[in-house]
């Protein structure tokens, strides 16, 4: 099936102090799927993510959100429609419920509980605690709940699992998959290509500011792509990124992860 375009990067370059962070990037990121931007550190992938919510501005080229130049959108509205969750899970309050409400103060208690459940946090267990007392994986999921609270159309995740042990990272990936399954678009950035390939539907490999490979997950020899330096005009396009179905992680129905019987977002 054809998915509408969520973000379009139109010949985007970014130069900071003479260093070319992004080099003529042309990309189409689609709605309703998880797209991973994988690459080694310094490849420009976090910067690319920051262009999408205007935390960064391209030196040349355009970024479109649903066909509209992001510069023509109200920046606060854009950031509520596409919420970026930064790499370091940083609490902004001293209380779990307050953390969920930080950008959505109108939420009822029931809505807060529902959001916590949606990211596989047990409300009875975490409510009343301080965010900093949570484990790294729990805190990362709380940051996801805080982002979901504003009712976004897309989540932009910067290395959502890089600071976590494999088990906690799997739990976060499960939540990301369940969110995508519920219709949310996700763009995530990761240096862990194998993990990115497992969680995402589409994968882009970024190398020295250029997309060197793109395709449906599982279709790319990613380790190979990652190691090969970019060459002019050479992009491995192994699959039409608009054409693929939904994705299932092998352990999606694992009972230890509480995603199956959770209420929908309020």
């Amino acid at each position: 099936m054809d998915r509408p375009e969520l973000f379009t990067l139109d010949d985007v370059s970014l130069v900071i102090e003479g260093r070319r962070i992004l080099d003529h990037v042309d990309e189409h990121l689609h709605d309703g799927v998880a797209t991973a931007i994988a690459g080694p550190s310094g490849s420009g992938k976090s910067t690319l993510l920051r262009l999408l919510n205007r935390l960064a501005e391209p030196t040349s080229g355009r970024v479109l959100f649903r066909g509209t130049d992001v510069r023509d959108l109200d920046v606060l509205a854009l950031r509520r429609r596409a919420v970026l969750v930064p790499q370091r899970a940083t609490p902004l309050t001293e209380d779990v419920a307050a953390e969920v409400r930080v950008a959505a103060p109108q939420l009822t208690d029931a809505e807060v509980r529902s959001l916590l459940a949606r990211v596989a946090l047990d409300p009875d267990e975490v409510l009343g605690r301080t965010p900093s007392s949570l484990s790294g994986g729990e805190l990362q999921r709380l940051c996801l709940a805080r982002a979901l609270a504003v009712g976004p159309e897309a989540l932009l995740l910067d290395e959502p699992t890089s600071a976590l042990d494999p088990r906690s990272a799997d739990a976060v990936d499960e939540v990301i998959r369940s969110l995508v399954a519920s219709g949310l678009a996700v763009v995530l950035v990761s240096h862990d290509v194998a993990r990115a390939d497992r969680v995402a539907d589409d994968v882009r490999v970024l190398h020295e500011g250029r997309v060197t490979a793109r395709g449906a997950s599982g279709s790319l020899d990613l380790e190979h792509e990652l190691m090969s330096p970019p060459t002019d005009g050479h992009v491995h396009d192994t699959d039409d990124p608009r054409a693929h179905g939904s994705k299932h992680l092998p352990h999606e129905h694992d009972d230890s992860v509480r995603t199956a019987d959770l209420p929908e977002q309020p």
């Binding site: 920046v75 919420v83 930064p86």
Partner: protein, 255 residues
């Protein structure tokens, strides 16, 4: 009035400089020369400011006194800007904070009839207000600069939730203003216990009854509280305006 020391008395006090120089050379501290230079500089600077003040008191009138205070705010802002190094337009932020802090505090004192408008009152009182406002602006800029660098990740997390800059930066703003007010609140709390402050000391030496001298000191302490608070708040607001751009982004802070 008690007797004010004559120039002969000042000449005698030079012996005290010689005491310091003697100790320095006897103990081979290597700073004899610096002591002499410092003592001479102090003499020249105070002679100059004494002459300027004498002229101002005689000729300036209220307009001249206010102009003098206004000029001091520029010098003070130039001093504060260094604390905000890396914050765009730190000089403007400090200047507007110091000017508003000074003008509002002096305005209340003058319009409320608390102090007289003679230059020999306005200029020293104005100097204290400008100096207090400057310290508040400096501490505010120091704190804002530090938190803009250290808390960038949290600030950007808040901006990324679609919060406008004033909300995303609210914690840092509160911290900056609170930090700036701590010294003056502390010194107000312990005034008279640890040290006898300058205004009171000066009046007592000049022969004023201590119970009258403290009235002036009380007014000075209270006016400094206001000057610090207004200057810190206005400086912080102005700096916040420069720390975020039109797209609600925290600008890069130069090292």
């Amino acid at each position: 009035m008690t007797q004010i020391p004559s120039w002969t008395a000042v000449a005698v006090s030079v012996l005290l400089v010689l005491v310091a120089v003697a100790i320095a050379s006897w103990q081979r501290l290597g700073i004899s020369r610096e002591i002499v230079v410092a003592a001479v500089r102090a003499l020249v600077q105070l002679l100059a400011i004494g002459a300027v003040l004498a002229w101002l008191f005689a000729h300036a009138g209220i307009a001249g006194a206010l102009a003098w205070i206004f000029a001091m705010t520029f010098v003070a802002a130039n001093e504060s800007r260094r604390r905000g190094h890396g914050i765009p337009r730190a000089y403007a932020a400090a200047l507007v904070g110091i000017v508003v802090g000074t003008a509002s505090t002096l305005g209340v004192l003058v319009l409320g009839g608390v102090i007289s408008t003679e230059p020999q009152v306005l200029i020293p009182i104005g100097g204290m207000v400008v100096s207090g406002s400057m310290q508040a602006a400096s501490l505010t800029l120091t704190s804002l600069r530090r938190s803009a660098v250290e808390n960038r990740s949290a600030i950007e997390a808040a901006l990324s939730l679609g919060l406008p800059a004033p909300q995303a930066f609210a914690r840092e703003m509160r911290t900056a203003v609170r930090t700036a007010l701590v010294p003056t609140v502390d010194s107000t709390r312990v005034v008279g216990l640890i040290s006898l402050p300058g205004t009171m000391t000066g009046l007592i030496i000049a022969g004023v009854d201590p119970l009258q001298a403290i009235r002036y000191q009380i007014i000075v302490m209270y006016m400094l509280l206001a000057a610090w608070a207004v200057s810190a708040l206005v400086t912080a607001r102005a700096a916040q305006g420069s720390l975020f751009d039109d797209a609600q982004r925290l600008v890069p802070i130069a090292a």
